[in-house]
Subunit: 442 residues, 2 copies
């Protein structure tokens, strides 16, 4: 009897309150959100399956000692470079802080060093991962029920999720083999306007995209920027994988951006540490108010952030800042080992696919990404959730049905394969299992 | 010439893109948001003024060594208590993680130890501070344009900010001298329903509230819960200051909650470390879907969180978790020094007010909070932003006009005084300056 507490009514007192799903926000009844849960559940239910599903960075070089070291490096930086007392440095890292972040200057410097992007420090807002960055931009742009965001299809699911939270429709634009079909972009903008809608921006991952692994060539990048200006669109450039493109790195959209049409969304999850949950948005666009005053779009995103998360954990920022300082503000330098590993895994994937899938050469094909975490497998059958479950259960191998990245139809005969976390042995065994599974399906 | 970059057009090429504020979300043109900026700006413009304005915790016991220690304590806990390998423990803290958090069990245990609240671990969602917790709940509840949230007035500005982001009106309920006017609550619910609206929840801080310092007595707490059941409302209980109430601690609303009407919003910013940005929401309510399936409200908040911030920095959570483990899961124990300091400061404030304000005893009064960070000063003049600016500039003392915490009129002759950060000397000098300023105004 001693474990009956005031908030646990005794038997008989069943006045326990129940809410109803149809009176909660529509995002919670969205089948797309349920489908992502399904993917996570399958991974949990079959923990011994070899996974080509998760898009997580390698854990091979994780080291808690790095976290301790980076934190100390950042505090040392505050004291030496910014001439702070220990008390002041402690306040920066441990107290409530600046909404736009405490490593905005280091982020701007990294963009200059690695990507030849030159933006004012004040245009950087440090966010709780790239996901919060997407939400801030979409929340700012969705001011009427007419505002929509365009997205190259298939689309990273996080964009669709953030849009769902502000009730903003995502209007698909064909990606095709080259990453974006510019003719379709023009067509869709026109169609949306004829439907009375206001297309505000296009979301795109120009380098080794999630989920396809496709990169835009330089001409397409230039032409895309011209279309953005002609059609009065912002470009939301997500560049989570840009430094994992081997020696063939191309200028990012923000590097080429002559008219400040590009809002850059960034993440340190793949390049420093997922556990820090630190990302950023660069928004150097001017915003004019009714009195003619001009502010940076970044300042308005900061206002939204102040109502959403107040600020990004300064402690987590300090760890990321310490990593940037340790590696001369270069993520390319910081990720030498990781880049080698991902390149090796991509080579192993391609060689393994060629070897194990030789019997299906006439029916199965795959693309050849310049790097990144993912490649696309095109198959002669409907690769749906039921088939994934069978693959996991009977063959011990996980993958992602590409259809999850389409808002409507599409991708039903494609599979996303991730290679960021495998070892040579797991990749070989995983592809062998996948081939056995295909032998059953094909 | 070498510093001309592709994204910096040469002079003459002035095609630079400009957005317009009236095409961005309405929250960005909200005067309430601008007013908070004003308060921050005044603090920055007069850095030498003594501040009774900021609601930040004391920095006296900040120590970076604690951060290192807590992180190691948490990893050690994973290895010993949860029998993880070093590799597994590293993955928990450094990799992408569980959306609902990695210290949910420790949070549930803290609530049991300190507050006699007993909830399933699965009902806890660890959030990016209490601010994200508020957003998650309001986003879930705002499913139609009819859904509104009630809030005891004056209201913590973070609630109004989060509501603004989901376009949810905040409908004020009189707080009065006892923390909530239950008759007015019933009246307002009725009025809202007659206006075709759906009041979904009441937001309240029952213990030493921000901004007033007022606490609800036990009878009022019990009666409030009965009204919530009768009127079919959720109670959003924000309890950021509950452990800073001396020896007269009263049961929280969640402790008394017989029908699971209370959603608890929590923060570790004041009790562990602001720089971690870790808070939580306890949502043990059932949600029934159209097929009759039942899930926890916490699971739906987790779905929203997955689209907003994905997860709360596991690294920051580990630091908070380590602190909880170090102090036997008790924030009361963890904050012995801090509680003594805040109690001392409150005594100093009361004594200092009595001494310095004796000349105005017939015109100025103040309340006597049981603890917390704030008290309310009632004055015989309009304490507005212009007067604050004069106080900062001419007298070197900062405070907060209470009107900032009201959505409409109200609080024009009240001032919020914060005492969480002062020393005996600064409190005395600050009150002396405030009295000089009053001598000018009164």
């Amino acid at each position: 009897m001693t474990d009956i507490h005031p908030n646990q009514p005794a038997a008989g007192q069943t006045s326990r309150h129940t809410l109803h799903l149809d009176r909660l926000h529509a995002s919670l009844s969205d089948p797309a959100m349920t489908s992502m849960n399904f993917l996570n559940e399958v991974a949990i239910r079959f923990p011994d399956a070899i996974s080509f599903a998760a898009g997580r960075p390698t854990e091979e070089f994780f080291d808690v000692a790095d976290v301790h070291r980076y934190l100390d490096v950042f505090i040392d930086h505050l004291r030496r470079e910014r001439a702070m007392t220990l008390e002041e440095a402690r306040r920066i890292v441990l107290q409530y802080g600046r909404t736009k972040g405490i490593i905005h200057d280091l982020v701007a410097r990294q963009l200059a060093v690695d990507e030849d992007i030159h933006v004012p420090h004040e245009s950087v807002v440090v966010t709780v991962g790239c996901q919060e960055a997407m939400f801030l931009v979409l929340r700012a742009l969705r001011s009427t029920p007419q505002d929509i965001v365009l997205a190259v299809s298939p689309t990273y699911v996080g964009l669709a999720g953030a849009a769902r939270l502000v009730d903003m429709p995502v209007w698909p634009v064909q990606g095709g083999e080259h990453g974006v079909d510019l003719q379709d972009l023009r067509t869709q903008v026109k169609a949306a306007r004829q439907a009375g809608l206001r297309p505000r921006a296009l979301y795109i991952i120009p380098d080794v995209a999630n989920p396809t692994g496709i990169s835009l060539d330089v001409d397409t990048r230039q032409e895309l920027l011209r279309v953005a200006t002609a059609e009065d669109l912002l470009i939301l450039e997500d560049n989570a994988y840009g430094i994992f493109t081997g020696d063939q790195r191309l200028p990012s959209l923000k590097t080429l951006d002559p008219d400040r049409r590009v809002v850059r969304l960034g993440s340190f999850a793949k390049t420093v540490l997922p556990g820090a949950r630190v990302g950023y948005v660069v928004a150097d666009q001017d915003v004019q108010d009714l009195e003619g005053g001009v502010t940076l779009l970044a300042d308005h995103l900061s206002t939204i952030k102040s109502m959403l998360t107040v600020n990004t954990s300064p402690l987590a920022q300090a760890v990321v800042g310490g990593a940037l300082l340790t590696h001369g503000h270069s993520l390319l330098t910081a990720n030498r080992r990781e880049r080698d590993l991902y390149e090796r895994n991509l080579s192993l994937m391609r060689a393994g696919l060629a070897r194990h899938f030789a019997p299906f050469a006439d029916r199965v094909s795959w693309n050849t990404p310049a790097g990144g975490f993912f490649l696309t497998l095109t198959v002669p059958f409907e690769a749906d959730d039921a088939l994934l479950e069978r693959s996991a259960d009977k063959y011990g191998v996980l993958w992602t049905p590409m259809s999850h990245f389409y808002s409507g139809d599409g991708g039903s005969r494609q599979i996303r394969l991730s290679f960021s976390q495998g070892t040579p042995e797991s990749i070989d065994t995983g592809l062998e299992r996948l081939a056995s599974f295909f032998a059953d399906c094909c």
